[in-house]
Amino acid sequence: MRFNLGFFLREAAKNMRLNALMSITAVTTTAVCVLILGVGLLFSAHVESLIRQVGKDVAITAFFPENAPREQVDEARAKVEGYPEVAEVTYISEAEALNRFKETFSEQPNIYEGMDPGVLPASLEIRLAEPGASDTVAERLRSDGFEGLNYPQQAINRLDQVTGYVVWGLRAATVLFLVASVLLISNAIRISIFARRKEIEVMKLVGASDSFVRTPFVLEGLVQGLVGATLAALLVVWGNAIFVEWVQNQIPFIPISSAAVNTLFVLVLLIAVGVLIGVLGSFLSVRRFLRV
């Protein structure tokens, strides 16, 4: 017997129309779950990206000896820029260092009044690609002859540690949301198919094969999952765009970025999740009642 897609699609469509209450329930359940999942996903993505951003603000300052010659500075700079862990290197001359110092203590001029330009040494301000690499970089700097290093060892370590935990926690939460979604959606599907177990029995008794009975149910699950998940996914992506713009306007100093989220990926992922649960949930729920 050939697979008659047209017939199965008509069957599925008819069932959804006649069991409208059930279909709507299945669709809203899927939509709500996918929505939560999507919001969780985006929240994770933004927080991870923010944390990375903060990590990039961490800098190591490496001081040059007093009156280091120009060539030494250039050479050292080139070397440091070559470190794989380093994102950006800025040279701070002695004059600049004094200016910065003055700015910091602008309200207490008596502190810097007597200072010579040469008191504060020139330095390299080194921003790292990963805050976790600070120890490695410090090691490299020392072995390359820098003696005066200034870096917020503890702050970096803490940031690094917290970053790790937060990222880990966010991923765990996302997985939990996923599991919850699977449970909730498949629960809804299971009850709605349970409500139709007698029909399944009758179909089997008049000679329908398992797959003949199953296919319209699975198609229903597919369509419901697709509709619910697509609605939710579009809502999530649209909401994300609005949110990012709002933050950029209202809290501009928060370095949020629409680049933190791969919109297409999220869209596809969420829809795939909805469809997959719809299809698998229907498949497995129907199977339970096919043993007639």
Partner: protein
């Protein structure tokens, strides 16, 4: 065609529905199955359909031992049997016509063939007008006739009818019984479980009587209540 060899069926632990039944129905036969309420008629039907497994004994249909049919092949077995169920077993989300059509669709028949055949069959059982009603919109007798039409439509080699006229008035019942008779004449094996004494007495076919799950009478041209 249908053979029960020492078949017993016990529901749960102590509800004996069939008690060592031996019965052979040859191809092309017309058999009435009679017996008081609860004597085991529907249980026999369900065993033949392999809806249930017997507690002991062997059932053979069309030369095949039912216990040897794997789950995969059960649908094909059932398609060879048209069955009118005592409780109709119509699909509530399908109209009368769709219910009848479904029995053809499971066998993979062409849409064109279905579109021709279904209205014919529904006319035959007097439901031409009700084709597009859902079971919930049909009277008891109309639902029963949809069930009868569905059993016929695939022209199966075996036709089983469990109480097919319980909800039908005497005139319609006669019509249905004539239909069963005609179907039997073109070679179909027919087994009818019934309480319709008038019908059994008039038609003078083979009568198998059950009592408390045992075959207590088997007469070639019997009536409903002949002496044992």
């Amino acid at each position: 065609m249908i053979n029960f060899d020492n078949v017993s069926k016990v529901y749960g632990n102590d509800s004996i529905a069939l008690d060592h039944v031996d019965l052979t129905i040859d191809p092309g036969e017309f058999v009435f199955l009679v017996g008081a309420s609860g004597s085991g008629k529907s249980t026999m039907v369900r065993l033949i359909l392999k809806e249930l497994e017997p507690s002991s004994g062997t059932i053979t249909v069309n030369g095949v031992r039912l216990s040897s049919i794997p789950h995969r092949a059960v649908p094909r077995h059932r398609r060879a049997i048209g069955c009118v169920f005592q409780d109709f077993k119509l699909l509530p989300n399908k109209t009368a016509a769709e219910n009848v059509a479904y029995a053809m669709e499971v066998t993979g028949q062409k849409r064109r063939a279905i579109r021709v055949k279904v209205p014919q069959i529904l006319d035959l059982v007097g439901l031409g007008e009700q084709a597009d009603k859902y079971p919930g919109q049909l009277s008891g007798g109309e639902q029963q006739r949809v069930s009868i039409a569905r059993a016929f439509v695939g022209q199966p080699p075996i036709l089983i009818a469990d109480e097919p006229t319980g909800n039908l008035d005497p005139d319609t019942s006669v019509g249905i019984m004539q239909l069963l008779h005609r179907i039997n004449r073109i070679g179909t094996t027919v087994l009818v479980a019934t309480h319709d004494r008038e019908m059994v007495d008039v038609m003078r076919k083979r009568v198998v009587a059950l009592k408390d799950g045992r075959v207590v009478r088997d007469m070639v041209r019997g009536g409903y209540a002949n002496e044992v």
